[in-house]
């Protein structure tokens, strides 16, 4: 019987890790393709309403965001505030914001610029109406009411 048992002690060969970088690079590229860069830190509460008719915003680079909601920092109260870029703003600073957003884009793309209103669902329409009126005044007419797409069960 001893014929089949080898006398030398067999050691487990070292696991080859040479393909590990390839695997990690694959994951990395997957992430680079699927995700979008976070543009600004959101300072206001963002509970999006759901809607079945929501359409995907097609060209990410042609979208500027206006955030509206009550501040996350409780010290600032619960009154709904507007956030442009990285800071709180008032309705009066929207024309300036739109102008700078237009400035940042190619001349050909300026007409396609969409303003995405990211508004918390508990916000009252008053402030939204003011923002919309201001957008009308500066001719930024394409808007999108940001909402989470809900699958409808017909």
């Amino acid at each position: 019987m001893s014929k089949f048992i080898s006398k030398e002690k067999k050691e487990v060969p070292a696991l080859s890790t040479s393909s590990l970088p390839d695997i990690v690079f694959m994951i990395l590229f997957f992430f680079m393709v699927t995700v979008t860069m976070r543009e600004s830190t959101v300072l206001v509460k963002q509970g999006m309403p759901t809607a079945s008719e929501a359409q995907k915003l097609e060209k990410k680079s042609l979208v500027s965001f206006i955030y509206i909601g009550s501040p996350l920092d409780a010290k600032l109260g619960t009154e709904a505030r507007i956030q442009l870029n990285d800071q709180f703003a008032t309705v009066a600073s929207i024309p300036e914001f739109i102008a700078s957003e237009r400035e940042a884009r190619d001349e050909v793309d300026r007409k396609q610029l969409t303003t995405s209103l990211k508004v918390d669902q508990n916000v009252k329409m008053g402030i939204v109406v003011d923002v919309k009126q201001e957008l009308r005044q500066c001719n930024a007419l394409k808007i999108s009411y940001s909402s989470i797409k809900k699958k409808e069960g017909n």
């Binding site: 890790t17 690079f25 990395l28 009252k124 008053g126 009126q133 007419l141 808007i143």
Partner: protein, 187 residues
Amino acid sequence: MPEINATSTADIAFIMLIFFLITSTMDVDSGIMRRLPPPLDPTEQPEDINKRNLFEVRINAQDLLWVKGQYMTVAELKDATKVFISNKSDDPNMSDKKEVNIPMLGGIYMASRGIISLKNDRGTSYNMYVQVQNELARAITELRNELSKEHFGVNFSDLIDQEKIEAIQKAIPVAISEAEPENVERN
């Protein structure tokens, strides 16, 4: 020449991977697309619209829906809008039709003159407003789907031919007019 040691590439790639994980967001932005009317010209007189063509939707500060003189729930709004726009029974209280020449749909098409007039209070919640916008959008999508199925056999969203898409859009436009906001503030 000795081979270059490649063991650390994995670490470098990991660092990059973690960097991307932190700086990025996965969420896809979606929303209800709308076009705002251009700024008002003070010299221009508002267009006179026949009352029967106006589908008035009002939302008050208590989030109650008032449609064409009666209260309604959000769930009923879609079907009411569809009935109003399509007006299959030629009800004199509902939207009028006009002839539009659309060659893709076989010549003259009886398009609705109906306009949805949406008005909200400053105290309306944003959630309610989006729900109403969504229901109105759904009504239009369903009408377009029906027309598209009838003529081309597929849903409107599945149409690829640009001419067909434009024909359907011309037959059933998104006619939502938002009134100038009223400054009625109540608590």
